[in-house]
């Protein structure tokens, strides 16, 4: 009997201690909001990870410091006002571009570092490996630049994406090609060939393009998938030459794009239209390098924003100035813009939730309704559908001009504002060599 009494007393004491010790995670007692960032800072996708890191540092700076004139969420004021001025802290980890390592790190961030939100991983393939971890622990997670449609088609409860996916963006390219005929473009573009790499991102693009090409009146005459890390694409170029498609849809990362360019130049191969999607076309260093060779002139591709028009936005300019503090002077590319837009949405959501409790964050995320004027990018706003995909994320089509810069050519009303004459057909290699280079 005495033992039972002692046990009951001990349990009662424990209960009292637990009640006294329990403090709900409310606005008053949150000192800092921990954001876990799993990024490919080394390995194959390191150049992407680096841009995401700078984007994260930019958002941390915007949230934690006072920018009174900056018209983006949490620009004015310090910290999260909804959480009593709590600071944002990014906990950044490098996964070496390896999915399994990303998964392990994500688990450590959740269980050891006790992060409140997970931002991972920047590439669709590795993100899909991390997703089950966030889902099983019930931690909100996002990957804004990830473009694979499958990421938001799995019915996950804890994953959000503010950026457009490939279905939206590749559809932009095919909408442009289809409508171009009615807007003074060539009417004799009938055939298309695909040259895509072998990972999830490239193959998702390929699948979407395979569906859309026939709907847009194109006959697919060649469909080549190449290995990521290919050191020569000479035979692929030969096959493309033999197929003689009017349009080449190319989805490759910068190293393979460089290999393709070298082999295409040696073979004297250039299709009438070279359309692309992300990959090298979104890589700032590749774009800069093209200014020395005219190698990218006439390439057209999908972008989530009209990069030539966005410079007019005052908030873009200010955010870009902050970004340049971390990027060694580089301007924001579209990938960084997608990431910053997404991270600012995340900060706004946590602020509106007034709590770091996952359920409260999820509720605030579902209630998101951001207008375009709060964004640094050309989305029509941020509002999520049932799959937690931003249904207002849009794509534009741009083309690289002789000045080495991207110019908006679709949607047509934006193209009118951009006032750029579409380059057609894609210039031959001789013409590229003979014309002055913007960076020389």
């Amino acid at each position: 009997m005495q033992r039972v009494a002692a046990l009951c007393t001990a349990l009662a004491c424990l209960l009292v201690v637990a009640v006294l010790a329990y403090r709900p995670v409310t606005a008053a007692n949150v000192q800092e909001v921990l954001i876990g960032e799993v990024l490919p800072l080394t390995g194959n996708f390191a150049s992407l990870g680096q841009q995401y890191l700078w984007a994260g540092q930019t958002v941390e700076d915007i949230v934690n410091n006072d920018y009174p004139d900056l018209a983006v969420p949490l620009g004015p004021g310090k910290g999260f006002p909804g959480l009593g001025g709590a600071k944002m802290t990014m906990v950044v980890r490098d996964d070496q571009s390896r999915g399994e390592l990303a998964r392990t790190i994500a688990e450590q961030l959740i269980t050891v570092n006790k992060i409140h939100f997970l931002n991972a991983e920047g590439t669709s393939g590795n993100t899909s490996i991390v997703q089950p971890i966030a889902e099983s622990y019930g931690i909100p997670m996002a990957c804004h630049p990830c473009a694979s449609p499958t990421l938001t088609e799995k019915g996950l409860k804890w994953f959000w994406r503010t950026g457009p996916h490939d279905k939206t963006m590749v559809a932009s390219v095919f909408s442009f090609l289809r409508e171009w005929r009615e807007h003074g473009g060539p009417s004799d573009l009938k055939t298309i060939a695909f040259l895509t790499c072998d990972n999830l991102f490239c193959q998702d693009n390929r699948k979407v393009a395979s569906e859309l090409a026939p709907q847009s009146g194109f006959k697919v005459v060649l469909d080549l998938t190449t290995k990521t890390g290919a050191t020569t694409l000479a035979s692929e170029v030969q096959r493309l030459q033999a197929a003689n498609a009017d349009v080449l849809f190319l989805v490759q990362y910068p190293p393979e794009t460089t290999v393709f360019q070298g082999d295409a130049k040696r073979a004297g191969f250039m299709p009438k239209v070279l359309a692309t999607s992300n990959g090298a076309y979104s890589d700032q260093t590749w774009l800069e390098a093209q200014k020395k060779t005219n190698g990218g002139v006439g390439w057209l591709g999908r972008d989530p924003t009209a990069i030539d028009l966005v410079h007019d936005r005052p908030s873009w300019k200010k955010v870009n100035e902050i970004y340049k503090k971390y990027s060694r002077g580089q301007n924001m590319g579209e990938l960084a813009m997608r990431e910053i837009t997404g991270l600012l949405w995340m900060a706004d959501t946590i602020n509106r939730a007034k709590s770091v409790d996952p359920a409260a964050i999820a509720k605030a995320a579902a209630e998101t309704n951001m207008s375009p004027d709060q964004l640094i990018i050309d989305y029509k706003g941020i509002r999520f559908d049932k799959s937690n995909q931003n249904e207002l994320a849009t794509g534009v089509v741009t083309q690289i001009g002789w000045d080495g810069e991207k110019h908006t050519i679709w949607p047509w009303e934006m193209a009118k504002r951009a006032n750029f004459k579409i380059i057609f057909p894609s210039p031959s290699w001789q013409e590229r060599d003979s014309k002055p280079k913007p960076a020389s």
């Binding site: 030969q238 910068p254 290999v259 020389s440």
Partner: protein, 290 residues
């Protein structure tokens, strides 16, 4: 027929460059029987060195071959003396882990120093010629790649004569074959191993100087070449310099065009499938002596 010849010529040009990448490994792995997974990182250092000398001092990558080759020879000797000599007598796994560690050390150091941005060379002797092609019998031969390939061939042949036709080369081979017997005739094995590492690092870095004209330069650029180099050395035969050249030409040739295979995805399958086949039928490789 023209297309077939074009594919063969394209492949041969790449094959010569692959040969130069692989020959360093032939010396270290094939001849001296030491494993080096950081081989591609020496190539990457050569590429970054050529890029840095070009951007900072306007030195053309083809001229950079000399200073970078010498510097990387020293680096190779240093790697042997500080690291590999200590793990040489241990389990092969020790060598594997040591060189994998070295791989990450060099790669991540390159990220820290050069960042992960892709770098491109655009105003070099070879890139300025990038539009030039020779037309022979309806076949297009890109001049820059042809020059690169010929340069690689010259270097390769010089090495072949050094290893196969000089006393020094024979001493190197003797050390590889029987270290104790070599010692009895006055050869100092440690020195031979150090020289082998120096030569291996220098040769692949020189290949990097040439390849920097054709590829995007990044800290991760080395790995695909490491994989190819291992396949080439194993295919050509351990310790055979000439076998390496022939295997590289075989690997360099794009197989799917001239063999009518269905997709480019079969390219690597062809290379590694050939290696497996040779491994089964002739484990020492096509021209291996050991």
């Amino acid at each position: 027929m023209t297309l077939l010849l074009q594919a063969v010529i394209n492949g041969l040009q790449m094959g010569f460059l692959y040969a130069l990448v692989a020959v360093g490994l032939t010396i270290i792995w094939g001849l001296m029987e030491m494993i080096n997974f950081a081989h591609g990182e020496f190539l990457m250092l050569g590429m970054f060195g050529a890029w840095w000398l070009s951007v900072s001092y306007g030195l053309d990558p083809l001229y950079s071959i000399v200073p970078i080759g010498l510097a990387m020879y020293g680096a190779g000797v240093l790697v042997y003396r500080l690291l590999m000599r200590r793990v040489q007598r241990g389990d092969p796994f020790t060598q594997i882990f040591a060189t994998v560690g070295l791989l990450f050390l060099i790669q991540n150091s390159a990220v820290a120093v050069f960042t992960s941005d892709y770098q491109y060379l655009s105003n070099t002797m070879l890139t300025r010629l990038s539009g030039s092609t020779l037309h022979i019998l309806g076949i297009n031969i890109g001049v820059p790649l042809l020059i690169g390939a010929l340069l690689a061939l010259v270097l390769f042949l010089a090495l072949y004569f050094l290893i196969d036709r000089t006393e020094f080369g024979l001493a190197l081979q003797a050390t590889a074959e029987d270290r104790e017997a070599a010692m009895l005739v006055g050869i100092r094995p440690q020195r031979m191993f150090a020289v082998a590492w120096g030569l291996g690092a220098a040769l692949v870095a020189v290949a990097g100087c040439i390849l920097a004209n054709f590829f995007a330069i990044a800290p991760q650029v080395g790995f695909p070449f490491t994989v190819l180099a291992y396949a080439i050395v194993a295919l050509g035969g351990f310790g055979s310099i000439l076998g390496t050249l022939l295997a590289a030409l075989l690997v360099g040739r794009d197989p799917e065009r001239d063999h009518g295979l269905p997709a480019p995805a079969f390219k690597d399958a062809f290379v590694f499938g050939s290696y497996l086949l040779i491994g089964l039928l002739r484990p020492q490789g096509l021209f291996g002596r050991f």
